[in-house]
Amino acid sequence: MSLIFILIPFIASAILLLLRPGGSRSIALFAALANLAATAYCLCCDYSQGMNCTYSVPWVASAGISFSLGMDGITLIMLVLTNLLTPLIIVSSWGRRFDNEPRYYGLLLLMLGALNGVFLAQDGLLFYVFYELALIPIYFICAIWGGQDRIRVTLKFFIYTFVGSLFMLVALLWVYLQTPGNHSFAWADLVAVQLSPAAANWVLLGFFLAFAVKMPVFPLHTWQPDTYVTSPTGGTMLLSGIMLKMGAYGMIRWMIPLAPEAMHILNPIFISLAVFGIIYASIIAVKQSDIKRLVAYSSIAHVGLIAAGILAWNKAGVQGGIIQMLNHGINVVGLFFIVDLLERRLGTRSLADMGGIAKSAPKFAALFMIIVLGSLAVPLTNGFPGEFLLLNGIWNYNFWLGVLAGLTIIFGAVYMLRAYGLVVFGETKTETANFEDVNSREFLVLGIIAGLVLVLGFFPQSVLGLTEESVERILRAVQL
């Protein structure tokens, strides 16, 4: 079953890239929807007994590498995130004319398969391979269809993330070489290794570098705003909505379980960096005049909170981190779609040139409001339960860090409502007077996202229930 999540996108992607058929958009959408259907099927499986839907064949038998996949509640939420957002991303790219469309959608599906692989992998090297494989398509997407200065920005992004992951590879190798016998990369074998205190520090640091670059956590975030701004919207959505969750997921599944011995030494530093990054990115976001850049910085702040919650490594923090990954993905894809809409209609991203859109586009203003409320974590929207649990988790770890992290709510209200006010209210400019309201396709995307914001806000238990047992199991297995 789990193999399907990788096979469908890879086969469809190969068809698109090699045969270049017409109607590539429909093929891509069909493949993505097939994956969504498979995810829906997996929601009904039973995850109380540990990994389900496993699939394992030896890959390089003599080196103990196997192609092994499996699912538990945590993976499931990540699959929901990936396979729910990808069709939305494809539909949102629908209106744009790309040159060489089969290539664009082929790369997008390649990315989908790799992301699913990251979340499903139960073998250390397989995880690493998928983690890196996801980088290649997104690099091409951003560098081929990106905006100004795209070559320099995307190369910086590539090298940053690639170097980070290489440190993870070295750390992974170190743990692998400590496994008994002929060595093995299987998750359980790697977790069973007892590292010496010095080695554990290095291993933990290696993993942290890789994941902190990807998420990004302060001070390794410098690639992120430029890359988000330069990429085509589909690329930005993939990066912010799904790809950075690979880092957070990697922390839960790989980093902390593999080197828990060093957590009590290094974790205070990591978690302080994450909390500091929240405040730092929020302050910068308040001052932005470019709306895409503002959303990019807000994403750093939100992700910092997720990282801090996970690093606190208690039930509230980890569970909050997982559902917030899903919610942040939904909200940020919505926000970037709105940014794209504004940019395409007004030809600018500057907040100073906008205003008064509420009069000419009421439907747009209403949907935008719901998504903003979701990202502000207002009660009864999807952001609320996640942020509440995250703050609760950080609070349990350290009172003062919890207080500092709590500032994110205030800052978030400041910069999001400022942006919303500047765009939607105020005086109507000549450019915005004829602002066209959303068409049916755009309404569909924004409507689904706004609907998810409300549904997940009303029924957070539907997601929490899925992850609860898996989170408890991993916390029991890995005690600090």
Binding site: P58, L125, Y131, I136, F162, L173
Partner: protein, 461 residues
């Protein structure tokens, strides 16, 4: 041994046929190499011919030698496949070209199987002398003549040093036979000064041959000046042969002295990767960039020599040589199709290739990604196996190697950027000759196979 004989006979036949006929040369040479490949495969994977695997304690064809022979013969077959286009402008000497390439390959096979230092020397010479001629085969091209002369002088110099080292080792151990030398050295606690100097000189001589820093300075000029396919041959077959011989010599003859030679080789490896990668960053010419890239790969390959004694060191060397050779030949195949007609060898020649020839662009992009060691491509597994094998002995060197692979992205990606992201297009028309198409497709297919199933080669010997 069967493969060696087939290649040798083919070479002679090709030489004679070349006197009167041009049309049948490439098919003949290809047929010979494919037969030899089949024979090697039969020896390695099948029951084997069971004869001639050992000769007068001079050489012994074991799985190690068969597997490396397979890599070298496969690389040569691909190069011969490309040669229909690559050699199209040659006049009367076409037969000599194929003959010399095949003779050179015979030398490589000897270098995979020697058990005696005399045979090592003979193998290196059989490999090198045809290449001195081939490097200068464009007689009216001054760059080619410079390359040939440099290659010859440096090669002769290196052989001299190597011979000097062999003499000293012989003086200290009273034998040319690898196993006897190993017995004489024992566990290495009573090594004479003569033996130490001998081993050092052999390291220097072999480092010249595999172009490791600081003995690499001939390589960029020679690579750039030689005809394109000969450069591809040097970068793949010669490099594979050099490293297999290096590995074989140190694994069989000098394992007892490891404490002595390990650190110097580690220093050479560290220097080689770092210097070659940083220099490659500044190149603007494709062949020169590939020359530095090939030097940097020599740095990684030295890790296999350092890992002697660890499990999987020979497997890693084999896998790496194969993936590196395939990617390099694919890259050169695209280069001769793109750059030869226009005469422009700089990166600018690749601008907009993805629109003009999507297949060539895709092949070159995947080769570059594989050379850079980006997962999940075969090149990544090559690096991974090498690094794992040497990790326990030299953690710091692995960290350095990892940093270097990150640096290498920068110059490999310049080509990808030119092909896919550049919005201007190079002026020249790009043709896609039949031979080039099949050779690069086959190369790509093999890279794909190694990507999906690395275990098909890793674990063979």
């Amino acid at each position: 041994m069967t493969a060696l004989l087939i290649l040798f006979i083919t070479a002679i036949v090709v030489l004679f046929v070349g006197l009167t006929n041009r049309k049948w040369l490439q098919p003949l040479a290809l047929l010979g190499t494919l037969l030899a490949l089949g024979a090697t495969g039969y020896d390695l994977l099948g029951p084997g011919f069971g004869w001639g695997n050992e000769y007068a304690s001079m050489f012994r064809f074991m799985p190690f030698a068969h597997a490396f022979s397979g890599v070298a013969i496969l690389a040569t077959a691909l190069i011969i496949g490309l040669s229909g286009w690559g050699f199209r402008n040659l006049n009367a000497t076409l037969g000599d070209h194929y003959g010399l390439i095949l003779f050179s390959l015979c030398g490589a096979l000897v270098m995979f199987s020697f058990t005696n230092m005399t045979m090592l020397f003979l193998g290196i010479e059989i490999l090198s002398i045809p290449l001195y001629v081939l490097a200068g085969s464009r007689r009216d091209d001054p760059a080619g003549n410079e390359a040939a002369l440099k290659y010859f002088l440096m090669g002769a110099f290196a052989t001299g040093i190597l011979l000097f080292g062999m003499t000293l080792v012989y003086g200290a151990t009273a034998s040319f036979d690898l196993a006897s030398i190993s017995r004489a050295i024992g566990n290495g606690d009573q090594m004479s000064g003569m033996l130490k100097v001998g081993i050092l000189l052999m390291i220097v001589g072999l480092s010249f041959k595999v172009s490791a820093v600081p003995f690499h300075f001939w390589a960029p000029d020679v690579y750039q000046g030689s005809p394109n396919l000969i450069t591809a041959f040097m970068a793949t077959v010669v490099k594979t042969a050099g490293f297999a011989a290096f590995y074989r010599l140190f694994a069989i003859a000098f394992p007892g002295a490891e404490a002595f030679w390990s650190l110097p080789i580690a220093m050479i490896a560290a220097l080689t990767m770092t210097l070659a990668n940083t220099t490659a960053l500044f190149q603007k010419d494709f062949k020169r960039m590939m020359a530095y890239s090939s030097i940097s790969h020599a740095g990684y390959l030295l890790l296999a020599v350092l890992a002697i004694g660890s499990t999987g060191a020979d497997q890693a060397l084999l896998f790496y040589s194969l993936t590196y050779s395939l990617a390099t030949i694919c890259a050169f195949g695209v280069y001769i199709a793109v750059a030869e007609p226009s005469g422009d060898g700089t990166f600018a020649a690749f601008n907009g290739l993805s629109k003009k020839q999507p297949l060539l662009a895709a092949v070159l992009a995947l080769s570059m990604l594989s050379l850079a060691g980006i997962p999940p491509l075969a090149g990544f597994f090559g690096k991974y196996f090498l690094f794992t094998a040497a990790f326990a002995k030299y953690p710091w060197l692995i960290v350095l190697a990892v940093i270097n692979s990150a640096i290498s992205i920068y110059y490999y990606f310049k080509i990808i950027i030119a092909m896919y992201f550049s919005r201007e297009e190079s002026a020249g028309e790009v043709v896609l000759p039949m031979g080039v198409r099949w050779a690069v497709m086959l190369g790509l297919l093999l890279i794909a196979l190694l990507t999906l199933a690395p275990g098909s080669v890793y674990g063979l010997i």
